[in-house]
Amino acid sequence: MDVILNFIGSVLGMTGTYAVLFGGLGTYLLLPHRHGAIRPRAAHGAGLIAVALGLLIYMTYWRPPGLLLPAVFLYVFGATSVIGAVLTITSRDPVASALWFASVVLSTAGLFLLAEAPFLAAGTIIVYAGAVIVTFLFVIMLAQMEGKADYDRAARSPGWATLTSFIILWCLLASIATLKTGEKVGTGIHHLARNRLEPEKQLLRSRDLEAYIGSPDANMTGVVRRAVSPMSLVADARLAEGEAADNPEATSVLVHRPNVAGIAASMYTDHLASVAIAGALLFVALVGAVAITNPRMPVRPSSSDPAQRAAVGSVRP
Amino acid sequence: MRADDPSLKRIEPPTLKWHEKVYVPTILQGLAVTGRHILGVAVASQQVTVQYPEEQHVPSPNYRGVHRLNKDEQGRVKCVACMLCATACPAHCIDIVGTTAPPEWPDREKYPASFVIDELRCIYCGMCEEACPVEAIELTGLYDITGLSREEMIYDKAKLLSVYDVTRDAEPMKYTQVPAEASAPTRILPPLSH
């Protein structure tokens, strides 16, 4: 009993709990469904206020980086991404949903920029905002030309869904909150070379394949050795040491190499197998998408006339 | 007509040769054509338009502009109020009130007391000109007719006769004299008092 009470007490002691509570309540109210006797407008107003409160409490959790501009941008991009996410899932109009998701993607790209991943930011914008969302918008506009559909105004069991997802969020918060600065991990955490120079402790690398293959075929091994030698790590380490020696200020920026060159070097040496797998995945997806949308399939089986159905399949495009 | 009618003649689109399929040589040909035109105007002033108020375009002799009512040698209106033009007019823009001719005009029974053409309704087809048995109504080469109100654009007999006075020298009556090859530009109509 005491265990449960203690648990409840510690849960209520976390400010994150209130953020989750308010956010969950507000999102529940904002989700499209019938709110009993309450007028929809009142429910939505209350939901907006609750979400805003939850977001404010949530933002007190954030600790901005030391400089002014990155801090401002962090708050702006973070807030817009979370607000955009809430509006994505609560908008009645799927076009509005897609546009809010575009705002989520754009602010995420901004956060990528803050984390010194400009190539990734641009790539995310090109792939998500430029291609995926636009094609989705295309389909929405073709499919739903006559305004708000019935199924967009009714969520599936919104209460349970909200409960589930916000319990997950609370669990994530609780685990993230245990990250305490400088206490558990050690004082050396701020140091430049964190674990860059200990490649053995990092994730499984493609060059480990060399050991796994272990084939007596020297030729094969040679190919693998040449293809997957971990040269990006070596180069990075040499660069870091060299610059740290003669220019200590320059090392305040952790990632020295040009972003694209660094990613490319690491990708085509340490992660070569992943690249190959991703290529195979893309190819399979291409074939799959083409196979699924075969225009010769009967499109509307509701017309029960088999002759007509056959004609649909054989008509000249 | 059915799609498989034997009397239908099928015309296939021309098959493109390889240099037409890759587009580039044909695009270059097209660029050469437009380039010639651009350079022709920009360098050699080969434009076909004129600077209107300063220079006046002279339309071809069969241009159909604003109407005029012709006068005969004695200065009388030639019209005999036979109503053929009003009948022929597809736009019904001619309104004639005929009256008995005075006794000193022995060559006709009637003449128009009022002859009104709504120039805004007119479609400038020239049917009135063709219908007229006495060559009284003609279409001139005047194209710059303007007005500040709809009423101003309803031409009465006096104004139509004054059009004749303005254009008499430039455009003689079509069936009495051979028109000059390239006539002098007509002047702008002076404002008329009603």
């Binding site: 400009p118 190539f119 430029g130 094609t135 295309f138 | 434009q47 338009t49």
Partner: protein, 364 residues
């Protein structure tokens, strides 16, 4: 701090100059259109109609602004903004002249030190061209939103056409520049210019003395053709202006827009034309490179000379785009899609692989 102020000044200059350039581009476009049709074109406002852009701008600003009652108002108002913003922020990485070591420096008064005047708003961004593509891929939102929010069949069809067209043509556009990028070994636009300059001067058999054979248009001509075609499609210029085809869609996505909101679409379109012309010149015509100019020349006079050369090339490119406009008729929609998917994309892939094979064979 000094760097920040410099960037702000550069932004102001670039935005001001490009917006003014757009006003005069409209005049140039009208003149070229007139000449191609054996007309004279605007010639009444001042000498050579130089005041015409001011008159046009005043007309745009003073016209009555009509917002139809049936539109989706927030999106309707957002669309022209997106058009102009996406077109403007693409200029952040475009080099307008020498950048880096060859850029001239000024020494500031009051002992504030030296300041390097790069002719680029954000120098040393190594994803340069990817950034331009990212920003350019956002431009489609303006057209789609305008078409959707106008609540009008013609606008809607225009928006749908444009979304399909822009997505399709982004692929050959991206693929066509990759051979150039591979050659130069960098995505940075300056590095690409410098590479073309250096390559042109280092060619064997006395070709190096010509100086301009290192330009992208000579090293990968197929990529240049594909890039040019896709660029026309991306900017909605005439052989591919299906989103706004005046004849069958009465203006397409901007049918319902009037006054300055229409003007903003116009501005956005011409800013896109300028960006694309800059990209073409930088990637395929050597940027500021001419025989006699090289990246080792430091100082103000070579810098201004290079900027002049670059701007002159861009102006020629823009005039060429207008020239093309009055030469080619509009494509049919299925022809447009066939051209992208069946011709340009395979060709660009083959071009890319050929360049990769060539580099691998010559460099290892």
């Amino acid at each position: 701090m000094l760097v920040l102020i410099g960037i702000v000044i550069k932004m102001l200059v670039v935005v001001g100059v490009t917006q003014g350039a757009v006003a005069y581009l409209i005049l140039v476009e009208r003149k070229v259109a007139a000449y191609a049709q054996d007309r004279i074109g605007p010639n009444r406002c001042g000498p050579f109609a130089l005041i015409q852009p001011l008159a046009d701008g005043a007309k745009m600003l003073l016209k009555e602004d009509v917002i139809p009652g049936y539109v989706n108002k927030p999106l309707y108002l957002l669309a022209p903004l997106i058009a102009i913003v996406t077109a403007t922020i693409g200029f952040a990485v475009v080099p307008f002249g020498p950048v880096g070591v060859s850029a001239p420096g000024v020494s500031l008064p009051f002992g504030m030190g030296d300041y390097k005047v790069d002719f680029q708003i954000a120098p040393a961004i190594d994803i340069g061209i990817v950034y331009v593509f990212a920003v350019g891929s956002l431009a489609v939102y303006a057209v789609i939103l305008a078409g959707w929010a106008s609540n009008n069949k013609y606008s809607f069809i225009g928006g749908l056409r444009s979304s399909a067209q822009l997505i399709s043509y982004e692929i050959p556009l991206g693929l066509s520049i990759l051979p150039t990028v591979l050659l130069a070994g960098s995505l940075d636009l300056n590095a690409i210019i410098n590479y073309q300059d250096a390559l042109g001067e280092s060619l064997p058999f006395g070709l190096g003395s010509l100086g301009f054979l290192g330009w992208g248009v000579f090293t990968c001509p197929i990529g240049f053709l594909i890039f040019l075609t896709s660029a026309f499609a991306e900017t909605n210029r005439l052989p591919f202006d299906l989103p706004e085809s005046e004849q069958e869609l009465i203006g397409g996505f901007h049918t319902e827009y009037s006054a300055m909101k229409f003007g903003m679409f116009f501005l956005g379109e011409y800013l896109h034309v300028i960006t694309v012309s800059f990209l073409t010149v930088v990637l395929f015509f050597g940027g500021w490179d001419l025989p006699g100019l090289s990246q080792e020349q430091v100082g103000w006079i070579p810098a201004l000379l290079k900027t002049g050369v670059l701007v002159g090339k861009v102006a020629l490119m823009i005039v060429f785009m207008m020239w093309i406009r009055w030469t080619l008729p509009r494509f049919r929609y299925d022809q447009l899609m066939d051209l992208a998917w069946k011709a340009l994309i395979p060709l660009a892939l083959v071009n890319l692989v050929a360049m990769m094979v060539f580099l691998q064979a010559t460099r290892s």
